[in-house]
Symmetry: C2
Subunit: 332 residues, 2 copies
């Protein structure tokens, strides 16, 4: 195994300390937890937006904690859900009395533990609601989900719902915006290589030297098709057509796109993919309002990429373009 870590058992704990050491003015770690919250949490007169999930997807989740996005995030062990107790501690620390919206990616552990945490928080008198993200168009059910998986489209939920919360909207309104993003976004990913978890120290799955996998999940879950290596343009076409088939957009629709790296992919390659993506959207009569390229939701050191397309109207453009100040995403 080639990793810049110490004891694999300590990697999440040390990562979180390293995040706080990088951003002592932004983050506060709740004692005896793997939960990071805004240093000024709970923020008064605002619905709190929280999320969480397994580690190994950095900058997801804590990278999006800050002004205009999340109030806090719970980190599980690598590719494991945080416990219900940690989710509850997160909710409690972020609630300022105006309610909390939990953004939950559709994985069984996340959904179950967040549900339990929400019940516990409600018993304490906290108003909590949740929205489940299932933007991955590749597979209907999968290894860790019933229904579709939640992947990179989640970042747009953090951004839009975070901006709505920052405006002072109430919980129902913040939830409505989150669901609006979910209704209008689709993602599909692919891998050139498997990720290697710190614990296992070897590839999670085997992929031949001349093979790639389409429709893969962010934990290396099986996708739709294992196929021979393809050109970047051909990969882009496969992923994008699958997303567009799912979204079924009207001619002239404005979209935001994300070319997301899986952690081990050079930016050079992501821009090569973006070139073909934008060309293809033009061929479909779609108009790109904004195009993001980078590592937003990764799978440790996996080489590969995902493509996200989100249809945007004036309301979503206002919210997605509103100011935000987080370690992983800053909008002026």
């Amino acid at each position: 195994m080639k990793k810049l870590i110490n004891d694999p058992d300590d990697v999440v704990d040390e990562m979180i300390d390293g995040m706080v050491a990088a951003h002592p003015d932004r983050f506060r770690r709740l004692p005896d937890t793997q939960v990071l919250v805004r240093d000024d949490a709970p923020v008064d007169d605002k619905v709190a937006l929280v999320t969480g999930g397994g580690s190994g997807h950095e900058p997801t989740h804590a990278g999006y904690v800050g002004d205009g996005m999340l109030d806090g995030a719970a980190a599980g062990d690598v590719f494991s859900s945080p416990t219900a107790d940690e989710f509850e501690a997160l909710i409690d620390a972020c609630d300022a009395g105006d309610g909390v919206l939990a953004v939950v990616k559709n994985y069984e552990g996340d959904v179950m533990n967040f549900d339990t945490a929400i019940e516990l928080a409600e018993m304490e008198g906290v108003e909590v609601d949740s929205v489940v993200i299932d933007d991955d168009v590749a597979v209907e059910d999968s290894l860790y989900t019933s229904g579709r998986r939640g992947v990179c489209g989640t970042i747009l939920v953090h951004k839009a719902a975070g901006a709505k919360a920052a405006e002072g909207a109430d919980l129902a309104e913040v939830k409505r915006v989150a669901e609006k993003v979910v209704d209008n976004v689709g993602t599909m990913g692919m891998a050139l290589t498997s990720c290697v978890t710190p614990e296992k120290g070897e590839p999670t799955f085997d992929l031949g030297d001349d093979e790639i996998e389409l429709g893969i999940g962010i934990h290396g879950e099986p996708g739709t098709e294992r196929t021979e290596s393809m050109s970047a343009d051909a990969v882009t076409d496969e992923l994008t057509e699958a997303v567009l088939d799912d979204l079924d957009l009207d001619d002239g629709q404005e979209v935001l796109t994300i070319v997301n790296g899986m952690g081990g992919t050079p930016q050079m390659e992501l821009f090569v993919v973006n070139r073909r993506l934008q060309e293809l959207l033009g061929e479909h009569g779609l108009e790109t309002w904004d195009a993001w390229v980078g590592d937003y939701m990764t799978s440790l050191d996996m080489m590969g990429a995902s493509i996200t397309v989100c249809a945007v109207d004036d309301e979503l453009k206002d919210l997605l373009g509103a100011p935000a100040d987080t370690p992983a995403l800053t909008v002026r």
Copy 2:
């Protein structure tokens, strides 16, 4: 070879088109070149700041083009210097009559071609000066340099000199600030794996399963020591002590640090390194003013990291903390 590319001969051309497609409001590609400039270049009443070098280090160079940093950047082929003609086109496109400062990383090709370009531009009546960056403390001379290599500290030159230029300072003042950063910054890197260039399609150098290389350059040039795998803390200590030995800072000195990923390193690991880095600086009696963690200057898909330490005074803090708006670095 596992890469998301089309023809290796087209990768830089397609990457640049993909960058423009992601940021059509920010970038303009000069016709028949691999040069990107600010869409509003030349910017009036301001010294222009330009740079360039081989591709494969993204987000270096074009990622730092924008308000408060660079006016433009020339991209060579992968790990190859841009031609003198491209550097000259860059200088010409960015000069608004107030002069141009070229930020040159110390590689023989970059230095030679920028020098020729500067001579050509001066013959056209453009006032041009340059500053050479040589922050890599690992080796004195190396494969592509006489003297030390220029690596990740370059980003701080872009930031500080870019902020000074944005203030309306004259060319001599902008150059003074650039040289002040050079005088106060040091970097050292290491690799867990070799990079793979699109052209060659296989590792640039061989590194055993249980080996790492300390002091490596950003093109896979040999470092100071090939050694057995080490813990993240031990690696951090080796790199940091080498940089601190070189800088020889006083007790209580404030510093900005960068933990820079080489392209294939998960963010998780960079934060584990940052944790130990900040601990170690405290043990040395140094005070961290700001800590950056991410991929700032990469080597394609190489796994590894570099550590940069820059001593900062009030002037540098003002400039490094001033607003900037570029694809790879935004300061509000």
